[in-house]
Amino acid sequence: MTTLKIPSPLRTYTEGQSEIDVQGGTVAEAMEHLVEQHPALRQHLFNEKHELRPFVNLYINQEDIRQLQDLATPVKADDRLMIVPSIAGGLTQVDHFASTQRGGRDGSIMALPTRRNWDDRLKR
């Protein structure tokens, strides 16, 4: 079992879990196991062609997978995977994806009155 560390901006999609156990012989398989467990993560990490998004930095035992064999990099049981987000003091790429990806999340507008009369409130 390999451990994958989730940065806090992505923990919304892992029910708050900071570390996830994943299985697989390669980084690609381990990541697939991750998104199977937490499907909401998929669109934040991969594009439609199932390539890692260019803003997602993925490290295995402190090394950037792009400097190894990318998604084909072999993974052993005691390896440690980590996602490194770009943050700038309130701005995250990860949040950006959360904001711009269509579909995936559902919900309805909170039921509130549509007819508004502000006079009472404004007179106060």
Partner: protein, 390 residues
């Protein structure tokens, strides 16, 4: 790597007493303290990160410290920007910071630059300093700071924070990677929450800023192992410190062997976001509505759909009666719930997220939509003082 020699500086008796705890450390000693006194550091941003950096470097006796910031002290800064105090609200941040630093240590020189750090002034400001400290809060200024550091051949002590996460590194393209090697491209323009809207645990910039100050002193002294080639990842919730290895990117657009970037560029265009928050809160181009204008139209009985794009927990702080909530992060997926035939006003806390929401709505064909300029905070200020400003 020693970044400054100690020249002809000397320490008088008062300074020897002041710095005695440094002089007692063999790795610093009298020679090291002279190096610190002879050094100069430019601190870009005097906010959450810049506060501890500037205070500790002043206390340590860095001979000349430059401060760049165009902003004024606001009450909402004081939760984390500990260099400023309540009595300084409304004053220039660089002046407020200088006063505090000279109170800590009157023997140093503090140069202030009360202006945004831009492509137009950055090289001129930075060229006279030994090293740069990135205490900024946005991507455009981070890429600018990096490129200045690479082009001038000076170390850049990087620190960045978000909510509970912090990152620290030392970039120096002369012997290691730069910020662009780690993050070649900024996040694409779009629906990103601004610094003012993202939130941050108040002590986090203290933790990260003091680490930056530590790295700066090590660079000045030429001691220890700096974070050059390593990225420190801190998480306050887990209380974890992780490191990853950073390597020079052979395809780096500024520090690689075939650089495309050979002079400063337009970083706001590069990142697709404004570099400083003076432009925040409005969209421009006739897409904004002032709080008073909106109040008049509602008072006149107009049926206007008020769309709140903040997060659910912000409703507990303030709320506009009759508004609907769709957090910005869900808007793209929930457009079908909105009717483009409705007159609509979108709002958030201060107008930044709603400006992003408006861009999204406009690109989806919504034409009868306006952005509440300055957000619910402007409404609280101009229309309904019973609401708090946050």
């Amino acid at each position: 790597m020693t970044i400054s020699d100690n020249g002809n500086v000397d320490l008088n008796h008062e300074e020897i007493l002041r710095y005695s705890r440094h002089l007692l450390i063999p790795e610093v000693g009298l020679a090291g303290q002279k190096k610190i006194k002879a050094s100069s550091v430019l601190v870009i941003g005097t906010g959450g990160l810049g506060s501890p950096v500037a205070m500790y470097l002043a206390a340590a006796g860095v001979g000349r410290i430059g401060l760049v910031d165009y902003d004024q002290v606001d009450a909402s800064n004081l939760q984390r920007q500990v260099i400023h105090g309540t009595s300084g609200i409304g004053t220039l941040k660089v002046e407020s910071a200088r006063q505090r630093m000279l109170d800590i240590n009157p023997d140093i020189q503090v140069d202030v630059y009360n202006e945004p750090f831009t492509s137009a002034n950055a090289m001129r400001i930075a060229q006279d300093y030994d090293l740069l400290i990135d205490g900024t809060d946005n991507f455009p200024t981070r890429y600018l700071t990096n490129d200045v550091s690479v082009l001038l051949g000076k170390p850049n002590v990087y620190g960045s924070i978000f909510r509970f996460d912090g990152q620290v590194s030392v970039f120096d393209a002369r012997g290691g990677p730069c910020y662009r090697c780690l993050f070649p491209e900024p996040p694409p323009p779009g629906l990103v929450p601004s610094c003012a809207e993202g939130g941050v645990l108040g002590v986090l910039p203290g933790t990260i800023g003091t680490l930056q100050a530590t790295e700066a002193l090590k660079l000045i002294l030429g001691i220890g192992e700096t974070l050059l080639g390593r990225l420190l990842l801190f998480n306050a919730l887990d209380m974890s410190f992780d490191f990853v290895t950073l390597r020079k990117n052979p395809n780096c657009k500024i520090c690689g062997p075939n650089p495309e970037v050979t002079e400063l560029i337009d970083y706001e265009e590069f990142c697709g976001v404004p570099g400083h928050d003076h432009e925040e809160g409005s969209v421009g181009g006739g897409w904004d509505i002032e709080a008073l204008q909106l109040a008049d139209r509602l008072r006149a009985g107009e049926n206007i759909h008020l769309l709140d794009v903040r997060e659910p927990h912000e409703l507990e702080i303030s709320h506009l009666e009759g508004s609907d909530l769709i957090p910005l992060g869900q808007l793209a997926a929930r457009l079908s719930e909105l009717d483009s035939a409705d007159e609509m006003v979108v709002f958030c806390k201060a107008g930044t997220r709603s400006a992003r929401a408006l861009e999204l709505l406009a690109s989806a064909g919504f034409r009868k939509v306006k952005n509440l300029k300055g957000g619910i905070n402007a409404w609280a200020k101009d229309v309904d003082p019973s609401l708090p400003i946050y």
